[in-house]
Every structure is written in C-alpha cells, then in structure tokens.
Symmetry: C2
Subunit: 568 residues, 2 copies
C-alpha cells in the first residue's frame, strides 16, 4: 500500500514537503490541510504588497510562471490532495490517526497516517493592553489582514498609524505606510533600540536614523498603555508612556508564538520558547511525526541554545529535508546562525550570529570593532560607504557575530553572507582577516571591509587599538568631557575648529609625526578622521611617544553622520 | 638596535607590509625599494582608468582621502624610507645584505637587513610571435603603459584594436576600449572559451555572449601568428589562424610570469609555476626572508596544488600577515580557493574553486548542476535572472566549485562569496542545500538560488534528475537529433510549435499528469520550461509512468537565451 502522509499547514513548509515528496515518491498519498482557503503564499511579501511593490495580492500566491497556487493547482499540477478550511483537532499517536474539523461544515473527520508533518506556523502575540481587539488593530500574519490593511489605506481612511514593535515586520510595515501612502507613522518599541534581537547599538542606530530621516516617528524605550476607541468609532489613538498618538490604524508587530498546542496535547516535547522540539532529522519526539517552520525551535549554532526563527527561508530548507527523510534518507538540518537581512528605505541591514549583548548573556567575553569603508574600490565611481561590526570572544578569538549596513543592499548582504557560514566551524578573527571574497574594483576593495573589520578587531584584541564608538564619543563631546584631535586636512577640519574652538584640535596626518609635542600626555583625546584608519594610525604614532590616553573614534566622521546629525 | 627591514617592491604587498609594520613596531627601520618612480598603486584599476571610470591616473595612487602615495608621503606620513628607481640585484643571505642598483646613477649599494621581504611581483608573459616588441603592443602591468594606451586612444590614433588573451585583463581592457572609446576591438583566445582558468563552458558562454552583444569581436580557439608593422608605421595588423585583423593597438594579456629570479639566484626554493615557495607564515626557505604577492605560489585549498594567483586582494592580506610575523606573531595564510569576480559590460561573473575540467584533471569524478533563477523573491519588482553552476565530486559529494553570472553584480558576487569559504572545510552538497544566507524579498528568494543549485545537484547525484546543458540541447536540436517537450503555457509555446512543427511538443504543466500517454516511451525528449523546475518535475511525472528517456534542459529557456540567440 502506498504511504499516507498528512501535512498540517499549507503556507510555506507544508507545500514544500508535499511537492518535494511527490517528486521523489510518485506513489505516496499526500494530503495537505489548512484552516485557511488561501494557501502557499509568501507571507514575507505582505509589507511589499501593502507598500505597492507587489501590485496584487495574487502576486504573493502565484508561481514565477503566474500560476495561482490554490487547491486546484496542487491537485492538478502537483498531484496532492488539499483540504482547506479544516482545523487539526487532535492526534491519536497510537492509532496513527489525525482528527480534523471541517470549519464550514462543523464536521469532524479522522484521517489515518503513516507519517505526519506538523507545519502549523505561529500566531502573532497579542499584548495584554486594552483595545487590542479593536478591528483596526492588525497583526500581519495572513493575506486577509494584508488585504484589509491595504483596503483601509487606499480608501483614504488612514492619516496616522501606529506600529507597535520595531522588529522586522514593524519596520517593513512602517516603510510601506510612509513611503507609498504618506501615512504619518509612529513606531513604538519597548527595547532601547530598533531590531533589538538582530542588531547591536551602533548598527541599530543607523537603522533608526534611516527611519527618522524618512519621516517615521520613533518612540524607542517606550511602552503602549492602551489603544483608545470603540467598535463604532474605530481606533482613535494609542496611549504610550510618551504621550497619546492619534491614529486610525494600529499594526501589531510584537512577536509571534508558535502554534504548538496540537503537538503538546499529543504529548510531543515542547521547548522553552513554546516551539516543538525536533531532532536534526526534523523528527519530533515521535519518529513518525515531523515538524518544521515557525512552530518549531531551532538550534542556534553559535550559543548552542534553541530559539524561534520564523523565516520562510528556513522553512523551505527544512521542508525539503523532511520530504527526503520521509522517503528514507537521513538529511539533516543542523540549525541556524541567525542570518537576517532587511531593507529600510534606502539602506540595507544584514546580520548573523549574536549581538554584543547576546554574546555577553551567553557567557562569552565579547569585543567588537566597527568600521566604515567604501563597498567598492575607493577609486571606482559608484562606491558608497558601508558600515560593519564584528564581534568575537576575547579569550578564544572565536567570531560570534557580524552586522552590516549600507545603501547598496546586495553588497551589504554579501559581506554578512560570506562570514555567517563560518560561525558553525568556529572561525576565529584571523580566519576573517584572510577571508577570501571575490575581488574586482567594481565590487570590492583589495582589502575589503570584511577583512578590515577583522583586522581592526585583531588590533583591539592585541591591545594596539583603543577605540571609542561614535555614539559614545558624541555623548562625551556634547557633555564637554573630551576634546577632539582631527587628523584630516585643514580644509576639512577648519569649519569644526571654527565652531568648537580649542575643543577641536586639527593636526593633519602628514604633520602629526612632526607635531606630537603639541599633544598633551595627561589628557584623554578622541582622534578623528574620515573613516577611522588615519586616526588609528595617529593613535599609534602618539602611543609611540608615550601619549597613551587617546581613543580612536571607530568609523570616523563617516560613522558619526550615520548615527547622528552632522556636527556642523 | 632597531630591526632593519627591507622590502623589495612597492606596489601592493610591499607598502602593506611597510605600513602595518610601522604601526606595530615604531622602532624598526623600514626601507621600501622599487624599480619604478610610481609606487603603491591599484594596478587592477588600470582598465577602469583606460575606460574612463577613473578620470586621472592619480586616482590609482591616491588614498581615499586624496593624498598622493609617493615617496614623500611614505616618508612624512608613514615614517618609511623609500628608494625608487632602484633594482634589487642580489641577496647575500650569509651576510644578510641586499645589493641594489640605483638605476639613474648606475651605482650599486649594499644594504644590510635583519628581515627581507620579496615583493617583486610578476611580469607579463611576452609570447614568441614576431612583432611583439613593437611600441604599440602593450601589456597592462604598470601605470606608464596605462597612460600610453589612454594617450593613444584619446588622440584618436586607434580605430581598431586587438586584445590577445581572454582572461580577466583582456576582457576588462576590451570593455574599456569598446565602451568608452568605441574602438573596434577583437579578442583572440587560444583556449576554447573566455576566462578558461575561471569558468566552465556554460557560464563562460554567457560571458562570451555578453562581449559579442556589446560589439567585441571574438576569435575563440584561434591563435595569433604574428603582429605586422614596423617601428616607423607602428602596428598595422595581427595575423591569426582565422585571418588578418587590421589594427593600430595590441593589448597583450597572455598571462604573467613571477619575478622570482632574485630569489632563485639566492638559492631560495622556487615552485613548478616559477613562483617563490613560502610556508603558511609567508617565509621562504630562508626564515629571515619573507615573500608574498604575485611573485609567490599559493596553495589551492581545493586540489592541494600550488598555483599563481596574482590578485591585489591576496597580496594585501598576505602583507598584513608578513608584518605581523616579522613582529613576532605567527599568523598564517593558508591558501586560496580561487575566488574571482569580474564585470563584463552589463553582467557580473563570479567563481571559486575548480571548474569541471580542473576537477577532472585533479582526479575527482565531478558532476554539476546549472540553474537559472531570480536573484530576489520572484514577486519583487527589480528581480533579474541569475545563472549558477555548482560542481561536486560524485563519490564524496564534496563541493569543488561554483560559478555565477547575472546583471546585478553584488548579488552575483554574494552567492559565490557565501559558498567559497566552505570549500576549505570540505563542505558537501547537503551543506549547500541548507546553507543559510540572508533572506528578505528585496534581496533573495525564500529558497535562494544557492540552495536550489545544490538541491538540483543533489537530485542529479541521487539519480532523480537527468539533465542536459542548454548548449548541448541547442546543438542536438539544430542537428535534428532530439525533439522538445515544452511544458510552458500554450501562449508561451505556440510560436515555437508554429516554427518547429512536431519537433516541438507542447503539453502545459497543468495538463501533463493527464496526458502522459501522448509521450513516446522509446524516444529521447528534451523537456523545457522557463527556467528548469517545471521541466524537472515533468521529467519525474514521466519517469513514474516508465518514460525514462527524457533529458531536462538545465536552466530552461532562460539559460538558452543566455548562451544563444533566441530560438524564435
């Protein structure tokens, strides 16, 4: 008899398992079940649909050849049974039977299985504050909500919106609302920075400035107290710890909760984040039941802990493995290093591994370097500044995290993608100093930023480089707690000297070796250049003369204006 | 006494060693020696200077802060002694003394050293055919030649040019001549394809088409017999095995020869490619003499053999290591996986590891897959087709090589850069199936092309995917040795059916499962779709019905038009 495989959930992982399994096992009976009538869609595309980059909702559930991925498509083209509008109620693991409820008929049915796949996804967290259930408060988790949001905006019903949560979805939705629709949008985020799970302070501040520069209002480190309004009036405002924001639309982007109740009720193991526990072969604690996608916990290969990682990309890779393994192979999904990227208006941000804070929390003793550098050979015409941070453990020199930002998105992503796969091989800082990425002047510098951020960290770990973050410098400088030694040219430095007087000393790089006597020995000075290398060299020139109290502003003036308005 | 360090050669590696060493050892006496008066330049920028992307020659030897990197700069700013127009004549290793000749004074001088660094670079190979020494025959290896070439062209003296050699420099120069100056340019290449050291047939053919499409004439698999002309008339024509090409300028891009005579005469070990042999700490067989850059052989980490790898990027990384090690550390340069990228008009090409032919020659049993896929989520507006090939050993599944091409350069480079670092960890095909690169719709698909090219290769290795290259298909189809099963929609297929009659069968994907009886069992058929996945699925649908003689055209019609004019 042919193998009976039932897959619960038909958004990302479910269809992938079904289609791959059909290809490699023409005889299996494969049934795909979903609560919804819309299936197999690119949920990560919702902000681009709302923002107009994707014109029609169908764009999110069509194939590249413009076929609509609906029940008929899966049955005709793929040879897969599909039951929509049906909820999985319970699993009888002894009998190997799944009970589903047909939602439109209010009828239950038992379906026997040989192998079961749980791909139930996740549900947006609904925070406990009043007003959260008003109809104009939308999470962004399915196409019906996407359509409702876009309908409201396109009818002109939304002048002001509040986005709760500055994670990826919150930011992407804020951009969609602002950029296309000119909706006056405020993001409220409890944490001290945007993308708090993904970025450390330096790179997150660049993202936050990008949002602010494009008109998104940011309430960072603030909390929502209640959403005001009634069923009749609709949403009227959001009350926060920083005041009341009138608005007609609220986007809830406060995280997700894995849909693991079905698995838990069936006695399968659940992790500390409420995701289903699977082994490297994607099996739950019942070897005939697989699970994957947003409802499971995945291993973080850097700190060895499990986490939720709700990404369509991981779901697709896991789905292929589940299908292979149901068909008798033993392919493995080892885990994630948390690689992530996002477009924020005119910049891209990419990251992998742990942030500085996460590295500390995991028991490492992290150090980091931050650099600003051209993304192409500096003589190549369309080169742009890129910003990059590398985090490593001081004791072992093991690389723990990397973050990057810049206007040329693929270039930003390429730097992080080149480093991220090495985390699981426990690469150290020296490995990144010599990391070999493609070099040609239109695409990279001979000493590329990925090598230089490691070289800079190597210098920090070796004790030759004594840095200060641009953000920290600005704070100190504004509090008049430090002076600047500017080693740029006179032309560049003069306006600053004029404005700040003797708080801003200019000795151009080519005069410094001859003028070290002018620098006080007993005073802390922050050294500045355009992007960091000359000021680092100046720090060493001074150190060789016994002037050891300097701090090098990492990333130089390029980094300062990436995180702060210009100082003149 | 302070350490005396002499560095022979001041283009890329030499200045890097000098500057880094000065930073970490303020006391050393560092002397940089070069034959030329122009030093510390970006030689890889020459084609961009000739092609106008870099306006002035100075752009190639200025810092990012626009300081000219000349003798005065190194002495004043960097604290490094510089001797230009001086040739290193001999090394007395016992006495630890270097003899140099001051070229303008015809005077020799002995310089004692504690550590010596050989950074003598490489010299373009001068092929043995007549006329190669005429003054209008230029290699592209220094700034004087660069200037002379640009002067000739900008004076309007060049209507036709011949570039000998279709390696990176030959191609970049051909683009520079054609694109900005509209010089009628022909490339002559002995090998059977362009970039023969870097690319296999499929991706190289895309590059060749890109050159042809932009008006560069290509004589591939042909040889130059002689260059005609006299000192008085200048170059008049190039005679090749395919006829005579009138021209006023010849670019010699036929490879390089390491400048290793000085080292060889001093008794240091030289490798089979005539490069200096160094250990992982960049030391020659004399522990007080280091070498790096274009004059050494580097280890290929994929096949374990040494090779020449003349890239400014490697030179810079090696230079830092040499400086660290002279200062007492033991940093290592382990070798190269041959990562390479190049812009060819409106497309980028990137590669790492071995080509199929190189893998065979190294004793592997290689298999490869080729895919065409959007570089972003297919619903995202500015997505473009990208082409990718992955090569692995059939027995061990070890990944041996990767190649990619596409119009968005950073996106192309990012895919290769993500895979290349894994070669040295002996990653296998499954590792690339699950390789985790940043995912967001503006930058990647949920199942990215890097995963899909590995999935496709996995299918080939597992025996479920029976492919044919687009190039091979075209050959067979034009010879009427095969028919096509086109599983695209009727609208897309109709023009082909009309043109080719019963040699082009159309059964759209959504009808195939119902119409398999129409397909003959005993005839070889090449299956086609837009980019490969639907035709692969069709192959499996047919195989399940016992129709096993099909071949799937890898990369589909997208790949066909990348390597060949459209079939209708």
């Amino acid at each position: 008899m042919s193998k009976r495989v039932i897959i619960i959930g038909a958004v990302a992982l479910g269809p992938k398992v079904a289609c791959r399994l059909r290809r490699i096992d023409p005889d299996a009976t494969i049934t795909l079940i979903d609560r919804d009538n819309l299936i197999s869609y690119g949920g990560c595309g919702i902000p681009y649909y709302v923002g107009g980059d994707v014109a029609d909702l169908e764009g999110l559930y069509s194939t590249i050849a413009h076929a609509i991925r609906d029940k008929a498509f899966f049955e005709m083209v793929k040879g897969i049974n599909v039951i929509t509008r049906a909820e999985a109620i319970s699993i009888d693991r002894k009998k190997k039977s799944l009970t589903i409820r047909h939602l439109d008929e209010n009828r239950d049915e038992d379906l026997p299985y040989d192998k079961l796949v749980i791909a139930t996804g996740a549900t947006p967290v609904q925070p406990p504050f009043p007003g959260v259930t008003l109809p104009q408060v939308f999470p962004v988790s399915n196409l019906h909500q996407a359509k409702a949001i876009k309908d409201m905006i396109s009818k002109g019903e939304v002048e002001n919106a509040v986005v709760i949560g500055a994670g990826a979805i919150g930011i992407e939705m804020a951009e969609a609302l602002t950029d296309l629709w000119a909706v006056d949008t405020t993001i409220v985020e409890m944490a001290e920075r945007v993308l708090p799970q993904a970025l450390g302070r330096n790179i997150a501040t660049i993202a936050q400035k990008q949002l602010t520069d494009h008109g998104v209002k940011m309430l960072i480190g603030e909390r929502v107290l209640r959403i005001n309004g009634t069923e009749e009036t609709g949403v009227e405002s959001v009350e926060t710890t920083a005041g009341t924001l009138p608005c007609q639309l609220v986007i809830l982007a406060t995280g997700i909760r894995p849909n693991s109740e079905l698995a838990a009720n069936a006695g399968l193991a659940i992790g500390k984040n409420r995701g289903i526990i699977v082994d490297q072969c994607m099996r739950t604690t019942d070897p005939d039941i697989y699970a994957g996608g947003d409802c499971i916990e995945v291993m973080n290969l850097v700190n060895g802990q499990t986490l939720l990682m709700p990404l369509g990309s991981l779901a697709n890779r896991q789905g292929r493995i589940i299908a292979s393994n149901i068909n008798g192979r033993c392919e493995q999904f080892k885990g994630t290093v948390g690689t992530f990227c996002i477009k924020v208006f005119e910049m891209a941000f990419a990251t992998a591994g742990l942030t500085f804070d996460q590295a500390k929390a995991a028991g490492f003793d992290p150090a980091y370097s931050t650099v600003a550098q051209s993304d192409r050979a500096h003589f190549y015409p369309d080169s742009e500044f890129m910003y990059m941070e590398l985090i490593a453990d001081r004791r072992t020199r093991r690389v723990l995290g990397v973050e990057a930002a810049g206007p040329q998105g693929d270039a930003v992503k390429s730097r992080v993608d080149a480093i991220a796969p090495l985390f699981q091989y426990r690469a150290d800082v020296s490995d990144i100093c010599t990391l070999e990425a493609g070099y040609s002047p239109p695409y990279a510098s001979a000493m590329d930023i990925i090598n230089n951020v490691a070289n800079s960290l190597d210098n920090i770990l070796e004790g030759t480089h004594n840095p200060i973050d641009a953000i920290e410098f600005i704070k100190k400088f504004e509090a008049k707690e430090t002076r600047v030694l500017d080693v740029r040219s006179k032309v560049q430095a003069d306006p600053f000297v004029e404005k700040y007087g003797d708080r801003w000393i200019n000795i151009p790089q080519d005069e410094l070796r001859q003028r070290t006597d002018e620098i006080p020995t007993d005073e802390e000075l922050c050294i500045l250049c355009g992007s960091g290398p000359r000021s680092y060299e100046a720090q060493l020139v001074l150190a060789a003369k016994g002037k050891n109290r300097t701090l090098n502003i990492q990333g130089g003036y390029g980094m300062i204006i990436a995180v702060h308005p210009p100082l003149i």
